[in-house]
């Protein structure tokens, strides 16, 4: 379990003070994939780097499995870091060393014997699917392969926590998918807690269990991915979600419509019920679906439809009330009646 308590990080220069992280408290459970999202400059990277004390917090505590890292001396901190893996956006491999040597470095830090290192590195490279690149130099690898080496290095000493600093931001979409699948596999099979920061909501949607949204150094919203996606509260969160779940129809199309246009959101089991057809049978309205999509977030469906309702205004109102009652996300986009 990772507990961040009242963490503050202030960068002070002679002229001014910049607050990187502003009094953040978080608890990240064992075995979960926790996402921190926000625009650049929101403090998410600083917060992540405070978890393994790459940045020393100005005040506050970072407690991992009951040990407050901020109280450790250099040597104890090094020992603690062996159990906290970290991967980076730009991989940060040693370019003058082979794939094998890059991974072996982490094991050397743990003072493992030569035989152990040999065995463990081969195991790790097998796991990340790079057994055949053992003696290659980083410059001979693709971005995705470099990140796999990074992951192997981070997992070398069987850490309990893996920190991912924009780990997929420098990769193309298909490589991103494969790296995310690998992270998910690591999380499920080895039970490693993963903390990742990203500005890509796709990433969060694919693998996170819970997320925290950051703005100006503060956590402004926190919850399960499904809750945040289906019911975002803050403007920033809405705009982030909007970037993945786009249910807009073009303006010129909207103008031509004469009926009432509604956006209906179905959560969880509701998405599987026949609410719309019930509504059409019960009330004297015609429904015309303009746009529709069902997304699966953490394997739970989220359906969003944009419909045009035409007919008697009174009936339309009743139909809208009916749907509002049975779902909890109905928004009237355009109401002619």
């Amino acid at each position: 379990m990772i507990e961040v308590k009242n963490l503050v990080k202030v960068y002070s220069s002679k002229k001014n003070k910049v607050i990187g992280v502003d009094n953040v408290s978080l608890t990240i459970k064992n075995g979960e994939i926790f996402g921190i999202v926000g625009y650049s400059g929101a403090g998410k990277s600083t917060l992540l780097r405070c978890i393994n004390l790459l940045e020393r917090p100005t005040s506050g505590q970072v407690i991992i499995d009951g040990v407050d890292l901020t109280t450790l001396n250099e040597k104890e901190l090094r020992q603690a870091r062996l159990k906290i893996g970290m991967i980076f956006q730009h991989f940060h491999l040693v370019s003058s060393k082979t794939v094998f040597e890059n991974v072996a470095f982490a094991l050397k830090a743990a003072k493992k014997s030569k035989e152990e290192i040999e065995k463990r590195v081969n195991e790790l490279l097998e796991m990340v699917g790079l057994a055949d690149k053992r003696d290659a130099y980083p410059s001979q690898l693709s971005g995705g392969q470099k990140q796999r080496v990074g992951i192997a290095r981070a997992l070398a000493n069987e850490p309990t926590v893996l920190l991912c600093d924009e780990a997929t931001s420098a990769l193309d979409p298909s490589t991103t998918k494969s790296i995310l699948a690998l992270l998910k596999k690591i999380n499920r099979e080895l039970g490693i807690t993963i903390v990742l920061i990203t500005h890509e909501m796709e990433v969060v949607k694919d693998i996170c269990d819970r997320i925290a949204v950051m703005q100006d150094g503060k956590v402004i919203e926190l919850g399960t991915v499904y809750d945040i996606f289906t019911n975002p509260k803050e403007e920033l969160t809405k705009s982030f979600i909007h970037s993945v779940l786009q249910f807009e129809i073009p303006d010129h199309l909207l103008k031509k419509r004469t009926g009432t246009i509604v956006k209906i959101q179905f959560k969880g089991e509701m998405a599987e019920e026949a609410i719309v057809s019930d509504m059409l049978q019960t009330f004297k309205v015609k429904g015309n679906i303009l746009h529709g999509k069902i997304e699966y977030i953490q394997d739970m469906p989220l359906g969003i439809f944009i419909m045009e309702l035409t007919g008697d205004p009174h009936e339309i109102k009743r139909a809208i009330d009916y749907i509002s009652l049975r779902t909890n996300g109905l928004e009237v986009i355009k109401n002619v009646a």
Partner: protein, 221 residues
Amino acid sequence: MLLDSLLNLVPELNKAFLETIYMVAISLVIAIIAGLPLGILLFVTDHGLFLENTTVKSVLGFVVNMIRSIPFVILLVGLLPLTKLITGTTIGPTAASVSLSVAAIPFFARIVETSLREIDKGVIEAAVAVGATPWMIIKDVLLPEARPGIIHGITITTISLVGYSAMAGIVGGGGIGDLAIRFGYYRYDNTVMITTIVILICLVQMIQFAGDRIARLADKR
């Protein structure tokens, strides 16, 4: 006539060439032994690095700059007491090597520091995050990553030493440069001067060529 005077010069040239090699070799070895750790220290004690230490950094930086700002001829004469202490004499190539080394150490240290600065900070950070000790980071990350740059630095230092060694004549150090000054400059003997300059040009070209070759072989990126 020209060939005769050149032939007469051969023993003299031979001796001078060996003296140059001798002085440059000694001071280069000392510059590397002392300058490499000094350069590393200048780098790792800098702000934001894993052995950050403002006091060490500024004291070392000040001393390095101070030595580098003294003109070599003054250093050569000024260090005579130290030379006497170390070598027991103040004349000859061995004596000259002392001041050459003192001049070369900070020069090389700054070059090492600069090569280390070229390394992506993220790579160093990744090593810190892995839980590596400072010694491991120096040995397994900093030095391998900066290797091509350091080899170039050794080349540059060697060539500078060849240049500085010309002034070693002041303390009777000898060497090719000294030959050029004594015969060419004081006695207006153009043959000797041109010959020695040609030798120096060849020597420098060879050092640069060899240095570039080795640096390329050491570059795995």
